[in-house]
Amino acid sequence: MQQLLQDTLATAPLGVTILLSLVVILLHSFVKNSERAQAMVSVAGLAIAAAAAFWTFPMRGTAFSGMVMTGGYASAMSVLFIAGAALTILLARDYLGKIGADFGEFHILVLLAVTGMMAFASGLDLIVTFIGLEVMSVCLYVLAGMTRGRLEANEASLKYFLLGAFATGFFLYGIALIYGAAGTTNLAAIAQSASARAQDPLFLAGCGLLLVGFAFKVGAVPFHMWVPDVYEGAPSVVTGFMSTAAKASAFAAFMLVFIAKFDIAHGRISLALAMLSVASMVLGNVVAISQTSIKRMLAYSSIAHAGYMLIGLAAGTPAAISGVLFYLLSYLFTNIGAFGVVSIIENEKQENVSIESFAGLGTRRPLLGALMSLFLFSLVGLPPLSGFFGKYYIFYAAIAEGYTWLTIVGVLTSMISIYYYLRVVVVMYFRSDTDATAVPVTTLGTASLLLSAAGVLVFGFFPRLITDIADTLF
């Protein structure tokens, strides 16, 4: 009993988020038309969960018979997911009502997805990793198709669901083979005997299948087919959430299992990761050039960003890992902000947003134009914004580890990306607007965008705030 209490306290961020989602479900069930209150309760509860994460940060260890990780890495990643969810919920207040999808279930699903992400990123047993992944994914399948009257949303969620469940099959088969070879699903126990099993074909096949599952979830080429369609069809704020928090949790679990903490494949997947990385960077950046829809362009850019982060995973040194963590945080603020601006434009235009829809935004709405430019510059990786330092740390660590060729590909493809990001800025400032009507943005949406922008600037000017913490996580 003492043990149960202790374990519950050590996993407080997860517990608080689960309780919070239950509270919001009850609020939604018993009080009609309380969507606004639900959003406020969710954000307040997420603040408590973040406080719990800070409080549990020093409690490094394991809980529930070594099934979940507590403190350190788990707490830090929890804060990341909570930040993403809070920004998304704030942005969604304006957006959902205007697209006719102001469902209270949105908040419940976002909160449950966050619990899944936390379990995914802190599982020390492959079965916890799997359940976390599924809790997150099932919520995201529904969120992607939330505007159920729109055919694009139906299509996005169907594709996401079918391909996601397909990838789950591979992920699970990988776990089954590893279980058969190692006799356990506990990561610590698997890692202990990993070197002895380095030649076991059953074990290697399991690791390969697991790798396929992870590559699918982070959206790396050649497992990226779902990304553009789902990101385009899903509601913009949901896309912002999927492309940042969900991707961050997939990367966090990926690093926990394969790279940083356990390295169950014993360094044998570096080359595969490098290949995935090159393919993602090249295909993502090249195809993004030809896009006319801004959401699709950002989707391909998100594939490219997954490629940059995979450089860090291929290098696999502590410096590279802390670079990837910084990149994830930076990308979270940048991309949620960018999709937030897209969602506002989408409300104005009442249609699928093309890059041309941004014409004249810089003069029509100076603040929005400036914020969008900021996010796009950060995606390009211009100093002193946070996107620059993310790339800098990863490339630096990769060169130190001898991956110079990978870094060269990374820098060259980043140069390609300048073209399509800056095209949007050019359209915003040097193209006159057509018959646009400015839809007022409420304080909540503005606050969320400004918070994202503040994140991009603060972590750009003071990157050591994060890297100092990231270095001490394990």
């Binding site: 009993m1 043990q3 149960l4 689960i18 239950l22 479900i25 009850l26 939604h28 069930s29 018993f30």
Partner: protein, 118 residues
């Protein structure tokens, strides 16, 4: 090895013979005098009015989906029930938490009216 399967083959043979014989016995022994009323779908019942290949109400679907969800959760209670004494208070508290979470979902379902038939 193979001898131990003989009873199974015997049972299989008996089952097949019994099934075939009893299914055809009435056709072999009974008198056959068909008429129009006898050939209708329900001999003493109502006349069927239209085709059975019709779309079913979405309510059946809602109930079916909810049934799958709540039905499968019982699977976690079997191992717990078998090991109840060994797990003690710890197991009991965990099961209360589990059922509590399910209950919140159930309240949501009821309040949403998913189980109302009309």
């Amino acid at each position: 090895m193979i001898e131990s399967y003989i009873p199974i083959f015997l049972i299989l043979a008996v089952a097949v013979v019994f099934g075939v014989v009893s299914a055809n016995m009435s056709w072999l022994l009974g008198p056959q005098r068909p008429n129009r009323a006898k050939n209708s779908t329900y001999e003493s019942g109502m006349e069927p009015v239209r085709t059975a290949h019709d779309r079913f109400s979405v309510k059946y679907y809602m109930v079916a989906v909810l049934f799958i969800l709540f039905d499968i959760e019982v699977v976690f209670m079997y191992p717990w029930a078998v090991q109840y004494r060994n797990l003690g208070l710890y197991g009991f508290v965990e099961m209360v938490v589990f059922i509590g979470i399910l209950l919140v979902g159930f309240v949501y379902v009821i309040k949403k009216g998913a189980l109302q038939w009309d």
